[in-house]
Assembly symmetry: C2
Homo-oligomer: 451 residues x 2
């Protein structure tokens, strides 16, 4: 992907040095806006302006939409106010709202009044939907017609709406009175239908819709289930408010996966790529969780002080501490990962807790027993006593099972009480398991070794 830009960059630089606008125009005409955006990101300021000048109207807007948020702001500063307003007016409504939301309030206050009334209201409405809801990712650019319009009229409308956009693959049929959504016709069906038919004769009734306040992750799941290119977003009364398109869903899925991955790794989610994120922003997002986990892990010391006498009597116990508690942590990580991912994909729910519990209890016996056997052999090889080896083996069974149970049930419980199950991160579970693991280990040791 990066190849395209790297391949073309030397040519572009040469053309820029020549200063021939015509050559630049030709070189850029065949490029996809995503590639032009990459190119713009890599150029010096005057060259950025040259490139934007050379682009056709539609390509200019599309390129701007593909820029990273901070590059967008930077380019706004470079281009004249007139051109900026032209770009904003022509942007797709959802991208425009995202851009306005991302810019500092002062910039927004100077730019918004320059927009036409309709676009301004549109932005205001779109930015008002809470982050993470269907409303926050929908666009208001779609084709809607009354039920008695004909196929020919619908095709004609499609020719007019956003002529350079590719997002219009469905025509939504709404009631003239209150814009309630009645049905949907695909572009392919329109092309295939007789021109004189009325839309109500060809439309699918009761189309599957998304509520405007639905969670964006649920929206993504619905897309995956039904393979639509776009889905209509409606309010509680069933009135059409906008549509969500397939490309926005791709972004949502990646965003949610990244968030979950970061949480599982005990980092507050970074909303920008690692190398673009500020050092102190990362330090804060890691330090926060590191400290929480550190404070939790302190209880391992407390637990061990409680068993100080035991440790003093059987110093060999110490050798197995990391081995035993880490095995519990690993088992906990595994089940936390499996359950959290299944929750994200909607494969399990809180109602499955009993099944999960039974499964993990059995799994703990099997896996713990297996590790216990290895641990038993290892302990004997270190010339420890049979009693000591037994302590190690039993502790492993207990700790591995405890880890699996905590790791699997905690995410279910978090989901139930409305918290993100992904915060039951691998290190979080490991810390919990460490403390209890020490107690299990020393308790067994006390019973078996110090009778």
């Amino acid at each position: 992907m990066k190849d395209i830009t790297t391949l073309i960059l030397p040519d572009i630089h040469e053309i820029l040095a020549d200063g021939k606008a015509e050559g630049l125009r030709e070189a850029l005409a065949d490029l996809h806006p995503a590639d032009v955006a990459d190119l713009v990101g890599s150029l010096e300021d005057p060259a950025k302006v040259q490139v934007f000048d050379a682009l056709g109207d539609f390509q200019r807007v599309a390129t701007f939409e593909h820029l990273e948020e901070d590059d967008q702001e930077h380019v706004i500063g470079l281009l004249g106010r007139g051109r900026v307003v032209a770009i904003l007016d022509a942007m797709s409504p959802d991208d425009r709202a995202d851009f306005v939301k991302a810019m500092p309030e002062r910039t927004a206050e100077t730019l918004l009044p320059l927009l036409a009334q309709a676009e301004r209201n549109d932005v205001r409405r779109l930015v008002s939907y809470p982050e993470g809801t269907a409303g926050s990712i929908m666009t208001t650019e779609y084709a809607a017609l009354p039920a008695d319009a004909t196929v020919a009229e619908a095709l004609e409308r499609l020719r007019q709406v956003a002529p350079e956009r590719e997002t219009i693959y469905y025509v939504y049929v709404v009631s003239s009175a209150d814009r309630r959504l009645l049905g949907v016709v695909t572009l392919t069906e329109l092309v295939r239908a007789r021109a004189t038919l009325r839309l109500e004769e060809v439309m699918h009734r009761n189309p599957i819709t998304v509520a405007v306040d639905a969670d964006q992750e649920a929206v993504a799941r619905t897309f995956e289930r039904y393979d639509f290119l776009a889905m209509p977003v409606v309010d509680v009364e069933g009135r059409l408010l906008g549509i969500i398109t397939h490309d926005d869903v791709l972004d949502v899925i990646e965003e949610e996966s990244t968030e979950d991955a970061h949480r599982m790794g005990a980092v507050e989610p970074l909303d920008v790529p690692y190398l673009r994120a500020g050092f102190w922003s990362i330090a804060y997002k890691r330090g926060l969780w590191l400290s929480v986990l550190f404070l939790g892990e302190m209880f391992t010391g407390t637990a061990m002080r409680h068993y100080e006498a035991t440790v003093g009597q059987v110093i060999g116990l110490v050798l197995f501490i990391p081995l035993i508690i880490s095995s519990g942590g690993n088992s906990g990580s595994q089940s936390a990962t499996l359950i959290t991912r299944s929750l994200a994909l909607g494969e399990v729910g809180f109602g499955d807790w009993a099944r999960v519990f039974r499964r993990e209890a059995a799994m703990g016996i099997v896996l713990g027993g297996f590790l216990g056997a290895i641990g038993y052999a290892r302990a004997l090889l270190w010339n420890t006593s049979f009693a000591m080896a037994t302590v190690v083996a039993l502790a492993l069974v207990g700790v591995v099972m405890w880890g699996g149970l905590v790791g699997s049930l905690l995410p279910l419980f978090f989901k139930r009480i409305g918290l993100d199950p992904a915060v039951t991160s691998t290190p979080f579970v490991a810390s919990l398991v460490d403390v209890v693991g020490i107690v299990i280990y020393f308790r067994i040791a006390q019973v078996l070794l110090l009778r």
Copy 2:
């Protein structure tokens, strides 16, 4: 999503009990095939057959495509051979190939000869592409025309090709001689263009393509970048072999995210949902990594035996072992997570290792210093000596930094040598860090406490 099926299920059961085929047909007609598939999955065998009988031809095929793989096999056994062949013939080529790949060889051998020659060859070719490549997710159902065809001819072709499918949004323009891909025209553009224009006059030249042996994850990245609905797949000579559609990409992205999440949690990726996966299959996929990690973690014992004398002299050292090594593991998890996810998204590469190294070294000082300060205070509160508190603080700085460096550089290195960076899972990094963490801790203790 599940709501629809739950809402409709009682009605369907009533209709099934009545045994009126007409009523069933009507009730099912409005349902999306994904919902009918869910319904079929929840019914008894005779009812499954009743439902399949009541479906229209296209809905029957689409429903079958939406069934889970084991349900598909089950239904094949219930329906007569004639109807099975009709379904297989009409399935979309990629779904059919996936189905054939998933079924036992014996079933495939009895079914394949019943297919028409063209479909059989198509299946053979599609199943031959290695899992995880563009070829393995592409379909061969697309519209391709020579460059001198007219817009009207193209629209007519679209009316004929797969009349009930919605996947045809692009017409690909190929050379008549060798099917080399010359350009692409979108359906929207066709609808808008004058009917008499030739395709070469309206097509986009040099369309962005995907190589047939490209990794499916790279394909997903290309989709995200360019927001296409479908992308053409070509061989090394640029000949059109098939297309990949947006809905397949959604599946790829979820699949890859799940795989990465599982690997990061130290589980061999499950290819079926947690509750559907067999107990022993999970036990194997967890046990494998648990054992590997367990064997690695054994070196903590070896390391501690090396410092047994030190432990004997300063028993208080033991209290801080879990606290110190887990902090290193947590820091390692964090950077491993950040880097692995960034690698998956193509945001960093091996070439960035020096930047990553500097950043993580600095991060280690900051975060380690912060935890060290807390640890120092905590140690003093436990009435340990100033020297002992200093050992704890210094060890924390060293271990947190070591964790961050290992966690960030190891995934980069794994990627470089062609391994999946996600296998540098959180527990994997933690184990590595544990052993070195113990060495760092006791070494510092020897120097500061036993002089």
